[in-house]
Every structure is written in C-alpha cells, then in structure tokens.
Symmetry: C2
Subunit: 226 residues, 2 copies
C-alpha cells in the first residue's frame, strides 16, 4: 500500500475521545505494526471478552482488503468455531513514555496504538498457511524464516492461523510533554516525560546449542532493539 | 494477600493450552502486575470485542474479593452503561524475550501474563475515587501521588474509574530456552533467546518547566527501569 493512502476507519474503529490523537494515514498504521512485537486479539470466548496476546505477521499484498494481518490463533479459533460470524478486533500498543504532569488528572502515557476490526478467517490452504507462518517468524526477527527448515505437514496441521483484513483500522498517537493547566504550570513544579522502549539484552544461546554462532539476522535484530 | 495464597482460577480464566505454563500462587499474579506499566481491558463495545490499553492501580486490601484492581475506564464505561451486567476481563502481558527455535513451529515468546475476569463496578464514592486515582499514578511512578496537588471536584467528576475484584485470576509464564525436536537439535543449528525488557531512557523535563529539578521519586523509577 502506498504511503499517504488514507486509512478507512469507521465509527466503531475510531477513537471516541481525544480526537486530536487520531492519525489518518496508512503509514501511521504501518509504523505501529512495525514497532510492535506482539498484539492483543480481542474475542468473546464462552461469553467473556478476552484480550489474547499473540504474535502476528503482515502481508501488505495479502488477499484481504487493505492487505492481510496473520495471527497465531489457537485459543481464539475455539471461539470462532462457536461463533464463526463474530467480528473481532486486534490492538497494537507501543508504549513510548510515562507523561508525568503536575496533576494526577493530566498524567498520561505517550504511546502509538492501532485497532483493526474485522471478520477473521482461519487460514486453511497449505500454501497460504506456510507463507503466513514465515511472516509470523520474520516479523519477530526479519530473515529468520529463510534460516529454518520448512514446516512438516504435521506441524502445519497442528497450527491455527487467523487472517484479518487491514482495511477497517484506526490509529492513535500521544506524544510530547504533559498538557497541564496554566495555574499548575505557574506554580513552578517539575513536570516531564520518562521515555520507554522495549529493548533487547544480550542474545542467549540455547544450552543445547553450545559453540554455535549467533546468526547475523539474529544479531542484527538484537542490535536494532539495543 | 499473603505470599503463597493460591489463586482462584475458574475454567474460563484458566489456560487451555500449554498447561505446564500455568502458575497457581498469588505471588505470581502480584509479580506480573508489578512488572506491568499498562494492561488491556477487554470489553464488548457496540457488539465488537475491544482490547483497550489503560493504566491501572492495585489495592490488595481493596473492598473487592481478593483485593481490587482499578482501571482508567472512560471508553469502557460507555459499554458498561449499555450492558451493566457484562463480565469483562483484564490482561497483563510482560514480554521477556523472543524464543528462536530451530523450527518455525517451536518459535515462541518468553512472557509473564495474567488474566482477571469479573463484573466491574464504576467507582462512584469520592473518597474511593480519589484513592483509586492515587493508586493509578503511584503504579506508574511510586511516590508520585504525594508530590501532586489534590484533584479538584471537577476533575473527579470528569474521571471514570472501574474497579474489579482480583479474585478470578490466572497466570501463565513461559521462560528459558526453546523446546526443539531432538532431530532438529541434532542437526547442529543455533537456537536461543533474545531477552526483551521495557526500559526507560533519560528523563525529559517539560519545556514549560525549565530549570526545575527532576524529583527523587521520578529519578528512582527511571533508574529502576534503566
């Protein structure tokens, strides 16, 4: 999808509060997804809404409108068997900082978040499933799928992947300083932001792989998150 | 609540897969909440399940069974007005690492996650609301609430806080090396973990607070997350 392509939010996918935080370009969605390692899939299971943390992969040229997001969906798949026609949503939340204002009321977080709503489908065709699994692995560490053996037929049969169109999406961003009341600013107290970022530590080689070298694609990803 | 107190998971709050990852002690719940900056509140809004990222605060001696978790809940409150008798859930997800196995199938994440299910109540009593707001602020930066002016009546009236019992909870933890198939290990390829942690950067003083010193409680929190 081209940079500058507008998102297609609907009323239900759009922020209801703090409308100045809404972003309308497709590149803002791509940014949030690229900055996220996991997402939360919201589904109703046995009558209770759950937010299931899961890895994901993106195919901007996938078969669904707006491109396809693939999710590891074993728990969710149970609810989809129960209610195949239910809409679900996926939320990505990147925490960028703690916003420490002069009042509790104006405390906030700096973040980038995205929500996609849609009717999921279970990926059944083996070619698409194999492609989706590569995307899931490569989203975590780019280049990793090509370094692995191919999945077996048994592994593919034991894996549930959901596909969702990236069409009905909305993005919210909060950045910068606290927004304090003028009288609170005038009182002269400190306010500010503690920046936050998910960072990688030193790569740990598995105990059952002594003496093997950390592959370049793994080292590069760890460096990117250093 | 005493360390060693067992959690009270129910079938719907319990992990269905990978049961070896379940933790049964209250201290595992306390650990996940202490390590989290935000959580995701799962609610059905206009018929669609959403995972709403929000800050939270914990009162282990709160009025609800098992203690109380308080959530900033303005968006969620709309759905609760629509359906006051609906159960909701809250999910905390702490990402500890990328688990890079020899096969895509055995790729995973190291994480600590908790789910609490329950019937939320909107905090209405001004004393409890004010206390809850202090807990929300202090969870982000311990000691911060005491450094702020008290909320005004207008601010309290404009704030929606939800309370949920910490009673019906379950915790899952995945840690350590990848679990590979013996034949994949024998092939001699590298496998390992890229540890992940949410870390703080240098504290940024607000542009409208030039020359003010970063308070000790803020510096201590930033150091803790360094």
């Amino acid at each position: 999808m081209e940079p500058g392509t507008p998102l297609s939010p609907t009323e239900r996918s759009s922020p209801r509060r703090e409308k100045e935080r809404a972003r309308s370009g497709r590149e803002s969605l791509d940014d949030v997804l690229a900055a996220s390692v996991i997402c939360h899939l919201a589904v109703v299971v046995d009558g209770v809404p759950l937010a299931l943390p899961t890895v994901f992969g993106v195919d901007p040229d996938g078969p669904d409108e707006g491109g396809t997001v693939y999710l590891h969906g074993s728990v969710a798949s149970r609810s989809l068997v129960q209610a195949p026609d239910q809409d679900v949503s996926v939320t990505w939340t990147v925490l960028d900082g703690m916003v420490l204002a002069r009042s509790g009321f104006n405390h906030s977080m700096n973040y980038r978040s995205a929500v996609v709503i849609g009717r999921p489908r279970v990926v059944a065709e083996p070619g698409e499933l194999s492609h989706a699994l590569d995307l899931l692995v490569d989203h975590v560490v780019p280049g990793r799928a090509a370094a692995l053996r191919r999945p077996t037929r048994k592994e593919l049969a034991a894996t549930t992947v959901l596909a969702l169109p990236l069409h009905e999406a909305s993005v919210k961003v909060r950045e910068g300083d606290p927004d304090d009341e003028p009288e609170d600013v005038a009182a002269g107290y400190w306010a500010g932001v503690v920046p936050l970022r998910l960072r990688a530590g030193d790569v740990v080689t598995s105990a059952d792989a002594p003496g093997t070298a950390v592959p370049a694609h793994v080292a590069a990803r760890a460096d990117e998150l250093r």
